[in-house]
């Protein structure tokens, strides 16, 4: 998928992706020549179809997790997977989520919410952060390149 600025005859570059939380998807692209920006807006069905393929519009910013599609989309038992991928320490600290952070997480669509939560949790565990707040989420987003999460 490419976006072309017809006036400049230049391929537009991916700028950011956004997941508004209503099942739809948005991504913006800008012209490197004239700076014009356009947004690609996908409805629920289109978003779902792309998600079902296990691919990311704009390219992947994070390495694909094991069985990511199944774990984020299958409506299965909560204890199906035992995650041993998190770093082990003698006394692992499980960060708490603040109410504000949980509210923000709730706006992430269900089919990626589990994966997003794990990314922020991994970030906090690796840095010994006891509580995940919106501020921590912003820092993680900047450091990990999680546009739109």
């Amino acid at each position: 998928m490419k976006f072309l600025c017809i006036d400049c005859d230049a391929q537009m570059t991916f700028s950011e992706r956004a997941i508004p939380g209503d099942g739809t998807f948005a991504a913006s692209f800008s012209c490197p020549s004239c700076g014009r920006r356009v947004a690609m807006l996908a409805n629920e069905m289109e978003t779902q179809l792309v998600g079902a393929l296990g691919v990311k519009i704009g390219g992947r910013t994070l390495e694909e997790q094991p069985m990511e599609l199944v774990r984020t989309t299958l409506d299965g038992r909560a204890d199906a997977f035992v995650d041993e991928a998190l770093p082990r320490t003698s006394a692992p600290v499980r960060p708490q989520w603040s109410a504000d952070a949980l509210e923000r997480l709730s706006r992430v669509p269900g089919f990626v919410r589990g994966m997003v939560k794990r990314i922020y949790t991994d970030y906090a565990v690796e840095r010994g952060i006891a509580e995940i707040s919106p501020d921590v989420m912003d820092r993680a987003r900047t450091e990990l390149g999680l546009e739109g999460m």
Binding site: I6, M45, Q48, P66, V70, T72, L74, E84, A85
Partner: protein
């Protein structure tokens, strides 16, 4: 047209959707690099005992092959292999991938049975509209991850228990270019013959090698007199083998004692494993 089209715009595609799909397939190939044979067990007809045959083959292979045996339960909606092999979750996840639960007999198993609540149907946490558009894509994606993200390690034999019908074999053949082939399971009846014939034709059309036919429920083995009596009319196994010029690998009678679980030892099934893996059978 006053502007360039996709291929005329030669700068790289930042989304690289095609490349992402290609990488998914490459992961399947890489993960199965240590698997000597991947064999699909298929049938055009439901209720012929395909999962029972798969489980019996897996148990026999676990006894006679030293290099390891695995089973992918590709019947996502109605998984039964895990129960037949007495295998339970949870599924462990590490940085290497998802580790398959192992049966008491040493068979590595991956199935939606480990992931779904008891008795719950296969369901996806997704937007409820237009499910018909994306449900099949998700199911194929799940099968792909069962192959690419499970730590199968090195195996002499990986069996894939397919749901009834021919479409999933087509998906499997595209996901696994090195697929060894497929075994067709039938019961003796004319109805099964017609149904399995269609799926075998579809397999051949897709370029999948047909390794043979197994006729299940070939009569009823009487517990009292040890004689085998007819259960269904027809001779579908031999007829299909003849029509497709493939071996009739085994005829398995119905035994009431083994209806709930595969038999501990079955000469016919042991013979199938020896025929499929002639160079690796090490235990008599």
């Amino acid at each position: 047209m006053s502007f360039r089209t996709y291929h005329q715009v030669t700068e790289p595609d930042r989304s690289r959707l095609g490349e992402q799909v290609g990488l998914q397939r490459a992961r399947v190939t890489a993960r199965l690099a240590g698997v000597k044979r991947t064999i699909a067990v298929m049938s055009g007809k439901g209720g012929v005992g395909k999962s029972y045959v798969t489980s019996s083959l897996a148990l026999a292979a676990a006894r006679s092959l030293a290099g390891g045996v695995g089973v992918v339960d590709a019947d996502l909606k109605s998984p039964t292999v895990a129960r037949l092999l007495d295998t339970r979750g949870p599924v462990r996840v590490s940085e290497d991938g998802v580790h398959p639960p192992v049966s008491p007999h040493g068979v590595r198993v991956m199935s939606t049975a480990f992931l779904l609540d008891d008795g719950a149907p296969l369901a996806w946490r997704e937007h409820p509209g237009e499910r018909f558009v994306w449900r099949g894509v998700l199911e194929t994606g799940a099968l792909r991850e069962f192959l690419s993200d499970v730590v199968w390690g090195t195996l002499d034999l990986l069996l894939v228990d397919l749901p009834p019908g021919a479409d999933k074999l087509s998906d499997l053949a595209e996901l696994i270019p090195q697929l060894t082939g497929a075994i067709a399971v039938t019961i003796p009846s004319d109805e099964s013959h017609a149904s399995v014939q269609r799926s075998m034709q579809a397999a051949r059309h897709q370029g999948v090698s047909l390794l043979g036919v197994i006729e299940n429920m070939s009569g009823y083995e009487c517990d009292g007199c040890a004689q085998t009596r007819p259960l269904f009319s027809g001779d579908a196994g031999a007829a299909l083998a003849r029509e497709f010029d493939v071996p009739l690998l085994a005829r398995i009678p119905f035994r009431s004692a083994s209806a709930a679980a595969p038999r501990a030892r079955d000469d016919a099934i042991e013979g199938v494993v020896a025929a499929l893996c002639p160079s690796d059978v090490v235990i008599a």
